[in-house]
């Protein structure tokens, strides 16, 4: 059951991402990407990470993508006739890359797939215990990084 749901969600994620990177309008790309991220959040939930799944929905789909949407609308970039889309020539390196990745995936898939162990998922308690007991210094560094990003964004965005 879980396996079937995983493959459906994986298909939704891949199709959403393909539509996002080939969309002509930025706003359409963002909406497709939000769909893809919702499916990815459900995959995280299936893999036993309810905290990461909820943060994916709240922060990625809810905050970061809305920030992109806000900038696209503020700068008036929604007109497809003004923005030149990549030609087939521009996609050549990307297609070459896809061939390389597919080859390496063939190596990976030729091994027998071993299912994951019986695993009930990581509870919020265990997650936060590890977060604040073992990685307390990382939390401090990340908070300072967010502060620097805030100051930098204020500096770049000020009116002169």
């Amino acid at each position: 059951m879980e396996t079937i749901v995983f493959y459906i969600l994986a298909a939704v994620t891949l199709v959403g991402t393909v539509l996002a990177i080939t969309a002509r309008q930025g706003v359409h790309a963002i909406v497709y990407l939000v769909t893809s991220f919702f499916a990815l959040a459900l995959i995280f939930y299936l893999l036993g990470a309810p905290m990461v799944a909820s943060f994916e929905v709240i922060i990625y789909a809810g905050a970061i993508m809305v920030l992109f949407l806000f900038v696209i609308m503020m700068l008036d970039l929604g007109k497809p006739e003004k923005i030149q889309t990549p030609k087939l020539y521009d996609w050549c390196p990307a297609i070459l890359l896809l061939v390389v990745i597919t080859g390496s995936m063939g190596v990976l898939a030729s091994r027998a797939a071993t299912p994951l162990n019986a695993f009930a998922g990581i509870s919020v308690q265990e997650f936060s215990f590890t977060l604040f007991k073992r990685y307390g210094a990382a939390i401090e560094i990340i908070s300072m990084q967010l502060l620097f990003a805030l100051v930098g964004a204020l500096y770049l965005g000020r009116r002169r």
Binding site: F6, I21, I30, P86, N117, F119, F127, A138, A149
Partner: protein, 102 residues
């Protein structure tokens, strides 16, 4: 839990390839390049969460959370930069920003 780790990694590598392809192909639009970076970081997060499920420890999920914090900082700075550049040159095409002859 019967999802093979190999299939999770295959999905993540496909997502990563798409993100990198988006960043390489969309040189005419900074915002689409940033979207490609987002897709790549999500693929990395998927690998971390899959490994966390494989070995049953919370560390991988924690690093996914740290990547999310990193991404929010990166996106806020990058979008502030996009607004600044758009204010100077009235475009988001990266080929126009060539005053350093790079």
């Amino acid at each position: 839990m019967s999802i093979p780790l190999e299939h999770v990694i295959i999905l993540a590598s496909l997502l990563f390839a798409m993100g990198l392809g988006c960043t390489v192909a969309w040189r005419s639009n900074v915002i689409m390049m940033l979207i490609g970076i987002e897709i790549m970081l999500n693929a990395v997060m998927l690998v971390f969460v899959g490994a966390s499920a494989r070995w049953g420890v919370a560390d991988g999920q924690l690093f996914a959370l740290l990547i999310m914090a990193l991404t929010s900082a990166e996106v806020s700075l990058a979008l502030a930069m996009v607004v600044y550049l758009h204010r100077r040159k009235k475009t988001v095409n990266t080929d126009v920003f060539d005053s350093m002859k790079g």
